[in-house]
Amino acid sequence: MAYDKFSKITSPAVPLPVENVDTDQIIPARFLKAVERKGFGDNLFRDWRYNKDGSPKADFPLNNSKYSGKILVAGKNFGSGSSREHATWAIYDYGFRVVVSSFYADIFKNNALNTGLLPVVVSPEFLQKIFDAIEKNPDAEFETDLKKQTFTILETGDSEEFEINPYKKHCLRNGLDDIDYLVEMKEEIAAFEAAS
């Protein structure tokens, strides 16, 4: 699935200071019935975001007009549970391009990278600094620089490097995906099959 090439993103951030956010919260199972990858953003965090009658819950960050931006900042162990890639589709479709946390579940991280959503891992201390910066000024801007692998709180200049494997970095920067790579390898794969 093609996605936008990723370079540098400068934007305010939306805080979600909750730990262990599982993918059932990101997108509940009853919204997984589509057969195409579109429209999932409408149901992102559905049960935290809306009341039963469909009205928005005022205290949920996504419904708070003071928060905006392409960066979602969440508590540790983000994306645990179900392997549903729909969770990363929903986050991407809503308009986020970066998720920041101190710890992710493995499958979520893989899915995010395959979706063109950058999962930035920062230290717990730096994560707190980001939450504090948003709290102090909801319009505060943050810079995600994939080339330099840095995440910066622009108001204070505080910055932290993040890790990403070089292959995935290359894919994200060029809008490539693994399927392109694997399809090119078919002969090698057939040779592997013959040898085993």
Binding site: P17, E19, N20, D47, G75, N77, S80, E85, N111
Partner: protein, 466 residues
């Protein structure tokens, strides 16, 4: 020679290529698909003009969405029906074997794989479902993947994966009466937390593990993902070989002998090094129950919900948010708490042994009037076995009915939803907010503990009634 773990041996034998500065290209022996996470992958193939590379290595069945009543009729929910029809059509178009509703091979993907002999020691097995870890019980590397990865497997029979770290969890000793594989799993997760296994693949070892049946081993490996691990595995032994022998897709005659010889080597070398090790004693494990909104929030059934003394900041807030959702308070006992629903089923505990345990417990007793129960076999074969063993008569005499196979209330994608605010003792794998229906409150437990709740109407220690 380099000492290898069981995981290393299987992984290394499946690496087609190591990408510089990146993941491994890993060959997949068996791919399972279902209706929910596959349609976008097939659409991707179509967009790229690709065919399925090795259709004979993928097996399909609809499970997540399907009703558990009247499966002979058209599926009422339009979106569910469309997804199921789409799976069937995609399989027909690409030559993939499809186990239709009501056919002998139908059921939850992780139940039918082992039943049909598709799951074998030494294999790499993936599926767009996190509980693919179940198949690790056979000494296979099995893990859940996302839809992009499903597309990769369809397109190339490979996926790109970084090699995880290795963890060994050893549980020695003899399980006490009334303690099951489910309790071992919930105990481990309560000790290492829902992120303790992240980045790792687990090997389970020790006398309490090797004494488990294949059904018990599948329950344990199934729940590996709830500790954050990609999967869990157990070295194959005689129990494994006896289970696989003679199954539909298992190797036959000469091929069988060769396979068994190959499987003998599938164990960790004596001095193999694991990145992380844990050891627990079977003596410390009692029947477990969860009180919160993640599977790590579990306690022995006679214990009290932990107090927040010593917790700080966001840890404390997250914990209290969870208790508030459940309608519980810190320091409360779980015993005697009200139960509205009991659900027995899922890829975690929907096998014949689970229904034997439940039926054995309720035999000669009566369902509590305040409790609604849903008993959902994991597959057609499980349902047939339940009937063949006369368990249906026992269940019916006690006031219980059997439904038809599927994932059902485990994730509530079909009509089987626990109503808002209601309490359910569930033999499933996740007690997340809203998992079993918007506002539903789930307590995870073994089939025995579920049976005790079903006949008493409250959380009850099953050991008191054995």
């Amino acid at each position: 020679m380099e000492k290898k773990t069981l995981f290393d041996k299987i992984w290394d034998a499946h690496v087609v290529k190591e990408v510089a500065g990146g993941p491994n290209v890993l060959y997949i022996d068996r791919h399972l698909i279902h209706e929910v996470t596959s349609p976008v992958a097939f659409l991707g193939l179509k967009t790229r003009g690709l065919k399925v590379f090795r259709p004979e290595l993928t097996t399909a069945t609809p499970d997540h969405n399907v009703p558990t009543e009247n499966q002979h009729l058209t599926i009422v929910d339009e979106l569910s029906r469309h997804q199921v029809e789409m799976l069937k059509r995609n399989c027909e178009e690409h030559g993939i074997f499809y186990h239709d509703l009501q056919s002998d091979g139908h059921g939850i993907v992780h139940i039918i794989g082992p039943e049909l002999g598709l799951t074998q020691p030494g294999m790499t097995i993936v599926c767009g479902d996190s509980h693919t870890s179940t198949h690790g019980a056979f000494g296979a590397i099995a893990f859940g993947i996302g839809t992009s990865e499903v597309e990769m497997v369809l397109a190339s029979q490979c996926i790109m994966q970084p090699k995880p770290k290795k963890m060994r969890i050893t549980v020695n000793g003899e399980l006490k009466k009334g303690v099951t594989a489910k309790d071992i799993a919930l105990y481990i997760i309560s000790q290492i937390s829902t992120s303790g296994g992240t980045g790792h693949f687990i090997e389970y070892a020790g006398s309490a593990i090797t004494s488990l049946s294949m059904e018990g081993r599948m329950t344990l490996c199934n729940l590996s993902i709830e500790s954050g691990a990609r999967g869990g595995m157990i070295a194959p032994d005689e129990t494994t070989i006896n289970y696989v022998k003679g199954r539909q897709y298992a190797p036959q005659s000469e091929e069988w002998e060769k396979a068994v010889a190959r499987w003998q080597d599938l164990k960790s070398d004596e001095d193999a090094v694991f990145d992380t090790e844990y050891a627990f004693s079977a003596d410390d494990i009692e029947p477990m129950i969860t009180y919160g909104t993640n599977p790590g929030m579990g306690i022995g059934i006679t214990q009290k919900i932990p107090a927040t003394n010593g917790m700080q900041g966001s840890d404390k807030n997250t914990f209290l948010k969870s208790l508030q959702y459940m309608g519980y308070s810190e320091g409360e006992k779980m015993l005697g708490k009200k139960v509205d629903y009991v659900f027995v089923g899922s890829c975690t505990n929907g096998r014949i042994e689970d229904f034997r345990a439940f039926a054995g417990f309720v035999k000669g007793r009566k369902k509590a009037e305040n409790v609604t129960t849903w008993l959902v076999p994991g597959s057609q074969k499980v349902e047939k076995q339940i009937r063949a063993e006369g368990l249906v008569e026992i269940l019916e005499a006690a006031g219980f009915e059997l439904r038809q196979p599927g994932c059902s209330a485990c994730l509530a994608m079909n009509e089987d939803k626990i109503p808002e605010g209601k309490y359910a003792v569930s033999t499933t794998n996740r007690n997340f907010e809203g998992r079993q229906g918007p506002g539903a409150r789930t307590m995870l437990a073994s089939p025995l503990t579920a049976a005790a709740a079903a006949v008493t109407g409250v959380i009850t220690d099953p050991r008191e009634m054995l």
